[in-house]
Amino acid sequence: MDKLKLPDMDYVALLPMLALFVAACLGVIIEALVPRRFRNIIQLVLSIVALAVAMFFVVKQSGEVVASKALTAGGAIMIDHAALFLQGALIVLGFVALLLFGERSLEFGGPFVAQAAVTVGSERDREQTGRELGSTETFPLALFSLSGMLLFVSANDLLTMFVALEVFSLPLYLLCALARRKRLLSQESALKYFLLGAYASAFFLFGVAMVYGFAKAVDFKAIHAEALLGEGNSLLLIIGLALLAIGLLFKVAAAPFHVWTPDVYQGAPTPVTAFMASCTKVAAFGGLLRVLYVGFDGLGWQFTPVLGAIAALTVLVGSILAVTQTDLKRLLAYSSVANAGYILIGVIAGQQLGLTSVLFYLVAYGFTVIAAFALISLVRDADGEATHLSRWAGLGARSPLYAGIFTFILLAFAGIPLTSGFIAKLSVFGAAIDGGQTWLVIIGVITSIILAFPYLRVVVMMWLSEPGESTPSVSIPGGLTSTALGIGTLATLVFGVVPGPLLDLAEKASSFVR
């Protein structure tokens, strides 16, 4: 019998993903064999080593990208500059978020529940809340998710992209359900995320089928060529792209596909929220960029107005609803919706400038948002984190250092100069004006002003109110949370004061290979 033609595999190019995957598998074995009290530290060290190895190979390859050799794994994976930049960003942000996963000093047993299957409120549940060590399956789950994200941003055809989408989504659904405190809220968020995520995946898959009907292929190069040729059934193409866009815009939390965001961000354990807000956003926008810039760029004049409307709606919904929030995690969720809108403005801007600004924004926002959630995990009372806005009143007098850091982070979200948020917004708006989307910039600036109000309200409450009976204390963070908080805050400052190096890096990375 004839041999099949085997796919060409460049294993070095796949090593970042393989390293994370192997580490996740090892993590599962550790869960099976190692006694509970050693698991946290072993998992943490293993994850950090795996991320370091993955980062090493990403950096190593970034110097040797050749367009003709970028395609590997039988044409399923494209390792180009943009893919490597996004992979590097995912690994670094994932590392900082995983530090929060490992924190055990804020409360006994860490932020995760010991036995997620125990009925909430039962005798057994009360027993485990304060006395049992949290589950550490969260590390392998996060690594599986990260390896899926790395695959997602480098996928070269729609089917690989779909598989990667599922690989990185499924662990996230589980992670959302594992909070130690407020478990019903956590389980509710996981169920909502899962059901809506499954819907979005179905939309994506249906879109793949439509596009296949048009192009008779699922890889981006063929789709691009077929779209340029303009011979096929263009109705299939447009329906297909619209369905694909729904699947992707759900993941980036753009309006009107954002309704899951506040519930999930609020209910999920705070380290998981930080992981989702930073890494999922990078991965989802990475995928969206590749679909739009590589596969469908010939259709720009058709999808730009629609995406523009979605971006405008997203910034409006995010900023206006943020004003009415009374829970800090929900406020940040709506802020993340608005930020998705700003990034979308950069995506629509097109050209290299737009791409550069999006890549910069993703990294800058990722660091800031991790720092914000790290700080939220510190402000606690007897029931866990105190996230209601009124509880933060007077925090400035009680612990000026952390209130100061949080003020800085909020100002960065608002886009005040000398923070990375300013540079990020500036570059996105600049690119949009360059790309002829001035109307979006006007809406963007107006909503930025609206959005500054809820941020400043928190700042004013922290500093100008007297601390009351119910003002919770700020826990002394352990080394891990301090490191995560420090890295996030420092990155926010450094990218705001000297954005040059990262901008250069993003500019070099802003080229896709088709």
Partner: protein, 121 residues
Amino acid sequence: MSLSAYVPIVWLLALAAAFGLFSVGIAPFVGPRRFNRAKLEAYECGIEPTPQPIGGGRFPVKFYLTAMLFIIFDIEIIFLYPWAVSFDMLGVFGFFEMVIFIITVAIAYAYVWRRGGLEWD
């Protein structure tokens, strides 16, 4: 494009419909009628289902574990069978890919086993 390519599908549809109608139509005439409690259940398969749990219809989580385990091995068979059929064509590469796949399934199995997922009580 010629529509004649669809003729077999139409035949299949017609046959399937005829078979279904025939089976349902003939059952009252030739089938035996012996009633028992199991026959009144929604899924009549001759076995009385496990009694409904008390208090709001919660299922013990062990059913879920069993179902998950079943899916793991189900998926494994789905991949193993076509691989075994075309083993000669896939060669050494295919062999090692399958070994890697089985290792990952074995890891999941080891996890379930060590964490007590195989114990019913």
